[in-house]
Symmetry: C2
């Protein structure tokens, strides 16, 4: 039977569809919300309403913001470096921003090429990238180090061949604070090849 | 810097306060919501609004429902067994309902006695339990098998001494599907003591 009535059951089922939450943790989350009705449930309800109205996808780069163009695309200082970082996903853009990579711009592909999953060039924001790439002097390919990520990087590199745009990728290596014996051999050998003088 | 504007940042911070979600998973959840705006974000927003309006705490048992008395307290068949199960939390009530324990009623204490944390009898729904216990022939104490849970069980047992109400507790034993070598010794020795003929 459904515990707590249809309104509560439906809230549990919707929350269970969020990444990282299953039916069990969604139930715990809903009980927590109900317990903290004034301090958490009401503010969350209001914040969600506000976000639904405010959220836009940036028509230039694919970032998520409350304006389009987004605050990064609209900031002229972001253009001065001439660096455009290509990422798979908005989450990657946010991660680079948290890392404080500096006054750069981004381009969100919205995925990676994956012939097996039926994802071709037209399914990604690739033409938008090729069109705006010419405004930048360097394109940093920051796709994940997966087969699909690297296939996508090759595709973009090919498309930009013959231009004078510098195409680079993120360095491979040992994560800061990472322990060597937890790393795969590919990372280790790349880290050794790319070793630097101290 | 805040990624995605103040509306998104605030939503992340509120979601991060749910049990099982941290700042990282809250960010992922919000990005997922934004990606699935029509299919998930809008329905979740509406469901939360409805739940905020509908949710009530049952004045009889402490359950969470959309009516008070809750559907369990209002159902006369639930009273026929004469069994009242005392739980710490609404989550425990829901777990017992999912387990299909039958036509019983519940009483939610809202916590356990914990002198170290300053939780005394007046902080729990204990007087309500003592008052309604006399309508039942058996009180099953289903608090967690912690020191505080057992202290609370003793307190209730003492309060009901001298009445003709039968006070019981859940059996200890090996969880169904549980592996012996992952169990603590207390559980194992209790399971051996309570062994049954096959
Ligand atoms: Zn943008
Ligand atoms: Zn009730």
């Amino acid at each position: 039977m459904a515990s707590g009535g249809p309104e509560i059951e439906q809230l549990i089922q919707l929350l269970a569809r969020l990444p990282g939450l299953g039916p069990r943790s969604a139930r715990r989350a809903v009980l927590h919300l109900i317990k903290k009705k004034e301090q958490l449930m009401l503010p969350l309800s209001a914040a969600l309403d506000r976000a639904v109205l405010a959220v836009k996808s940036c028509e230039v780069c694919g970032n998520v913001d409350t304006t389009s163009p987004c605050s990064i695309c609209a900031d002229p200082r972001r253009g001065e470096s001439g660096i455009l970082i290509v990422v798979e996903d908005v989450a990657d853009l946010w991660a680079l921003e948290r890392a404080g990579v500096g006054q750069v711009r981004y381009h969100v592909l919205g995925g990676v090429l994956s012939p097996l999953d039926g994802v071709g060039p037209d399914d990604l924001n690739l033409e938008g990238l090729i069109a705006r790439a010419h405004d930048y002097s360097e394109i940093v390919l920051a796709m994940n180090a997966t087969v699909e990520g690297q296939t996508t990087a090759h595709y973009i590199t090919d498309r930009l061949t013959g231009t004078d745009i510098r195409v680079t990728r993120l360095a491979h290596g040992v994560p800061v604070g990472g322990e060597l014996d937890y790393l795969d051999e590919g990372t280790l050998s790349q880290a050794l090849k790319a070793r630097t003088v101290i």
